[in-house]
């Protein structure tokens, strides 16, 4: 046992341990909780930095633990897992800062931060999962740890939302579990291997493999909010803003999308998936979801709901990228995993700021808010423009690669219209908000304005997180071509997946 075999485990434990300790803390011990939270997040960041450097230089980090005969818990760092781990770690750090400020003096903070940390540990765990069993294990743990976060407020509405969330995700979990066991029973332990391993199975198994694929993608699609499995997502909006931010940007929906990437690329292999005739189906579902989410977002007056439907739509870009055969489409899908996360978390932070500072929950209440809260609204604008795909914010990079990939794969005739329509719709539901916020006359009185002692437009700790993530979103777009940018990393992943 040396450091390399412990490192993946330590990355998971660095947030799990503080989380477990926090359950036992007094409600009043605010400072200790903050110290635990921040030190966990920073330690994780350092560990992840080491892993990133190592994976780039072809080091192998792997933790193994036998659970039962034939069932091993494997944490393994490869390029894809590193991408997701970095995203989770960085955004968790920012969200923790935000959440500490957001939840100040609200009840049940020990419980909240305890589950919050477990939730991130589960996300990092499934990112580092080296085989399907480990992935399923953390996937279910994620469901369990997010339920209390969604139900946190305890209002009847929150409880209802949490119940819906649970009903969807647990059903999805059972399907994924069944598919996984089935796959294990015909092919033995399924490790994630670049390029997939199932194409070696005899052709007699192909019908079974199709059914298993369907089971697993349905199970993963629930969290990734593929239509028609997205019903829980708008309802889970009742959660506190930092939870929504993390749920939409990293933890839950991304876990689903990430799982789909793993299944297609590292279990089945993208070419074999195509051979089985499954890729087109996935693409069609993704296209429908993209359009449907955008159309639904148009008519939402509740800001968080509009963002939620926008998530439904945007996350499916990832699935679309997977469905586009060829490395360029892959890059587009995978890089969007990061880009969407950074942009969407910005949007949710700012939505939380509006609600927390001025009591604004609806788009129709946002007239002139740009003058009252310029920094927040600036961050919001960056996120919104990125979602539409306007350079230099990161979103355009993803769309560019998706379009290019579809041309290369000869799928442009249906992918292009989807991309164009969706971008137009994105503009149609985001631009009016920007117009209202910047150019309309402010109302005389905000719905529920809080008198703050702060120097800035809102509490400092609420202001910095969206500004930082907005800056990241711009940087990811501006410096897309520089080494260690998400795009370059996605490039590396695609090269290794296709064995180029």
């Amino acid at each position: 046992m040396n450091f390399d075999t412990w490192l993946p485990l330590l990355v998971v434990v660095s947030s799990l341990l503080p989380g477990l300790v926090m359950f036992f803390l007094d409600e009043g011990s605010h400072r200790l909780r903050t110290v635990l939270n921040m030190s966990g997040a920073l330690i994780k960041l350092v560990l992840v930095g080491i892993i990133t450097w190592g994976v780039f230089h072809q080091h192998i980090y792997e933790t193994r633990w036998t659970l039962a005969p034939g069932l091993e818990l494997v944490l393994h760092a490869d390029t894809l897992s590193v991408l997701f781990v970095i995203l989770s770690t960085v955004l968790w750090l920012v969200t923790t800062v935000y959440a500490i400020a957001y939840l100040e003096k609200s009840p049940h903070r020990s419980r909240f931060f305890g589950f919050f940390s477990i939730c991130v540990s589960a996300t990092v765990g499934l990112a580092l999962a080296g085989n399907l069993l480990t992935f399923v294990l953390f996937y279910e743990l994620l469901t369990l740890s997010t339920y209390p976060l969604v139900a946190h407020r305890g209002s009847p509405e929150a409880l209802r939302g949490a119940r819906t969330y649970l009903a969807y995700t647990l059903t999805g979990g059972v399907l994924l579990f069944t598919g996984t066991v089935w796959l294990y029973s015909i092919a033995g332990p399924i490790s994630f291997v670049e390029g997939g391993t199932l194409n070696q199975l005899h052709a007699d198994y192909h019908p079974q493999l199709r059914v298993i694929f369907l089971l697993m993608i349905t199970g993963l699609g629930v969290k990734a909010a593929l239509v028609p499995l997205h019903g829980w997502l708008p309802q889970a909006m009742v959660a506190p803003a930092p939870v929504s931010a993390l749920l939409h940007a990293v933890a839950v929906v991304k876990a689903g999308a990430f799982g789909i990437i793993r299944v297609v690329y590292d279990v089945y292999g993208v070419e074999f998936t195509h051979e089985l005739g499954l890729l087109t189906g996935l693409g069609i579902i993704a296209a429908i979801t993209i359009i449907y989410g955008s159309v639904k977002a148009l008519s939402q007056d509740n800001l968080k709901k509009r963002l939620a439907y926008s998530t439904v739509s945007q996350v499916s870009y990832i699935a679309l990228g997977i469905a586009i055969l060829g490395p360029v489409g892959t890059i587009g899908g995978i890089v969007h995993l990061v880009h969407q996360g950074v942009m969407k978390i910005t949007l949710f932070f700012t939505a939380g700021n509006y609600a927390e500072t001025l009591g604004i929950h609806k788009v129709s209440e946002m007239d002139g808010v740009g003058l009252r809260m310029p920094a927040t609204t600036l961050a919001f604008s960056v996120g919104a423009l990125g979602m539409i795909g306007i350079p230099p914010v990161a979103g355009y990079v993803s769309k560019w690669y998706l379009a290019l990939g579809s041309l290369e794969a000869g799928m442009a005739w249906w992918v292009m219209p989807v991309l164009v329509t969706s971008s137009l719709l994105n503009a149609a539901y985001f631009l009016p908000i920007l117009y209202r916020a910047w150019f309309k006359q402010p109302v005389t009185e905000w719905p529920n304005e809080k008198i703050l002692p702060a120097r800035f437009e809102t509490q400092t700790a609420l202001l910095w997180p969206p500004l930082i993530t907005a800056a990241l979103a711009v940087a990811a777009g501006l410096f897309a071509a520089s080494p260690y940018s998400p795009l370059e990393w996605a490039n590396l992943i695609a090269r290794r997946e296709y064995g180029l």
Partner: protein, 478 residues
Amino acid sequence: MIDILIWLVALPLAGALAALLLPRYATAIVISTAIATSISAAALLYAVATHGVMLYEIGGWPAGLGIALRADGLAALLLTMSALVLLASSIYAGAYFRENLLRSRFWPLWLLLWTALNALLLSGDLFNLYVTLELLGLSAVALASLAGKTAAMQAALRYLLVGLLGSMLFLAGVTLIYAGYGTLDMATLSRVVAAGPIAWSALALMTVGLLLKTALFPLHFWLPPAHASAPAPVSAVLSALVVKATFYLVMRLWLDIFSEVVIPQVASLLGILGAAAVLWGSWQALRAERLKLLAAYSTVAQLGYLFLFFPLLQALPAGAARDAAMGGLVILALSHGLAKSGLFLAIGIIQQRSGHDTIRDLDGTAQRLPATTFAIALSGTALIGLPPSGAFLGKWHLLSAAFSAGQWLWIIVIMIGTLLAAAYTFRVLGHAFGQQPYPRHPVTIAIEEWPALILTAFATIGLGLAGAPVWQLLKVSL
């Protein structure tokens, strides 16, 4: 080392007598007996793991003439799990009956039950099994009737009659065996039993008797009222251990002694009853209005899962896949034992603190007792079979065996059962998130909250992450 076997029976028996004669010191006697017995159980587990099967012939008489005690991996595992549950429940009961005069009647019976349980798990011959079975049943009934209310008495009476009927059927089967083969020693029997009317009818009689006691659907009717009206620590032990003991005998009969004789169709029948139990029990648990009833019906369902293994084990050829499935069965049983006893203990705390266990009115209670609520959550994780519980591994192997054997029906049953379990668990847990006032210090763990927490954590985290030795131990068999 061999003496451990005798200690495991003698210690609780001596403790029971001492507690009866010295009621004033009963609590201290029981706790120290519980600790000593648990240490012996752990020692036994260690001994079996390192030295293999343990055998002890009382008075030096060889098996067949004298009484022999023996322990293989399966027996040692169940015995250790029982010790853990009983130790935790003893500590809990000390607090539970603190102000209660029932205490003096409770403690001797409690240790008597432990004696019977250990003796049953260590017996290697069918007649001794019958005796221990009877002793176990009677002490269980006496404990169940302790609450003294009309409902409890009625339930206990029904429990008694069912138990007696079950034992009689079992005894009839034993008699047939003796008439047919001239021996009751299980090891010998497994070599000589041959397919034929004697073996079949004996197996049928004994199985029906045991199923009655194990409360397999549709013979489960007596269980929910009996388990739901007993005092909390008693419910815990009844649900977690007493039904498991009879299940253990079914396993011994079907997978060991009569494994060559069993007709596949009959094994399928057991599976079908198990499937019905999973669906019916879970559905009733979902509809239950009281927590204890929910827990009791959940036991009916969880026992059903165990019976799903029979047709699968029957169909799989001896080898790695079958061994893996066998381990799945045992870890599922162990995980249920720990989780369910923890659940009943937790419910007992809620009942004592708030005076009721109506699920609808749980809001305030669930928030005032976060540690207890957390124990219920851990227990629920194991009952649903979510990771990282031991039940997750058990269900994995159950499903895997079903896929390997191509028996698709069970897969659907398992999926539905899992979802129903999730539904009834979260129906309770939803109450932990209301908007009632909450304690400033989130976790105020009283002494009686610890046992529930430890048991459920063991089921959920201990067995799930460190369950691999179970499969190793099962290789040690007679």
